[in-house]
Symmetry: C2
Subunit: 172 residues, 2 copies
DNA sequence: TATTGTTATACTCTATAACTATA
DNA sequence: TATAGTTATAGAGTATAACAATA
């Protein structure tokens, strides 16, 4: 039982912790520039929501972010300008629109998560293995409780399907 | 061993988790409006730093926040205007100044922490006691590792003296 | 008339650059 | 001259209100 290589689920811990932080960002309101993101935190929140709710309209996105239509419209302007998001016409109604993550948008999120988890792993490396396992168990349980408690029926953030996922990633 | 009242360290967990998030906010960049704070996250970060570094000058505060003097100067303008921060003349040099948290500033932070920890406790209540204890142990260890790894010698955030503090809250 | 999305306007936050005053 | 702090000025984010288009 060493602290170096053959440790069970070291990057699992990083993945779960990362998803908890993402949860907190949407739940509490957001981070800032986080790593070396070319997008702001506000824009990042948009990407998170679109990742799990592809094709939603601006109104729904606004409500999910607990923001205002004008702000979200401006956000989408810039996200579309840098090619991470796309606005398309809605099939249902001609006054609505569909918001989509572009392939570049998905790639960006993947890269961001990798960067974050690597940063977390540097810290986790300095922790005793027992503590790391305790943290993993605790965070998994916390995430489940947070999802059930604060976001009943909403699937705003949280990585689509984390490695250590045994419970409800989205409850409803 | 129930989940309701006589649980060991339930608010300890909340306090430690809250301080970890505060750590992440300064370490990673910040949250947003968080609860119902009358101050922005940027202003909140200033308060955090001043709480642990009373009387520092604007240059040092700027470096700690990894920002620019002009931005921080504006931030202090507004924080001073709402009475949470005070600028005083420096004893050392006539071209420097000392930044202080006012009593109102300290009260604000105390109230904010209470609000946050209550919000956390609502989630923690939904967790099995064993998971809660594991989370506590894991987060304490994580915080220690994060302080030692990412901020060697810096004491930017982290509640002054948390309940479950056994290790280095500030390392140098 | 109600709803979706946008634009008009204003304030905060951030940053680069220019400025004042010390040292 | 170098440093501490403050003002320009400009871009991004947010919000309220007014507007166009659709239902």
């Amino acid at each position: 039982m060493n602290t170096v290589s053959p440790l069970p689920g070291r990057s699992d811990v990083a993945a779960v912790a990362s998803s908890v932080v993402e949860l907190l960002e949407v739940l509490w309101g957001g981070g800032r520039d986080l790593v070396s993101a070319p997008v702001s935190v506000s824009q990042l929140r948009v990407l998170y929501v679109l990742e799990n709710n592809d094709g939603i309209n601006l109104r729904t996105l606004t409500e999910t972010l607990d923001s205002r239509p004008s702000s979200v419209s401006r956000l989408c302007d810039r996200l579309e300008a840098i090619g991470l998001v796309q606005r398309t016409a809605s099939a249902a109604s001609r006054r609505e629109l569909e918001l989509h993550l572009t392939p570049a948008g998905r790639t960006f999120l993947t890269d961001l998560r990798t960067t974050r988890e690597q940063a977390l792993e540097r810290i986790l490396d300095a922790m005793p293995g027992a503590d790391r396992r305790a943290l993993l168990a605790g965070l998994q349980s916390f995430r489940t409780a947070a999802l059930d408690t604060a976001a009943p029926g909403a699937s705003a953030a949280g990585t689509p399907a984390g490695p250590g996922d045994a419970e409800a990633t989205r409850s409803a």
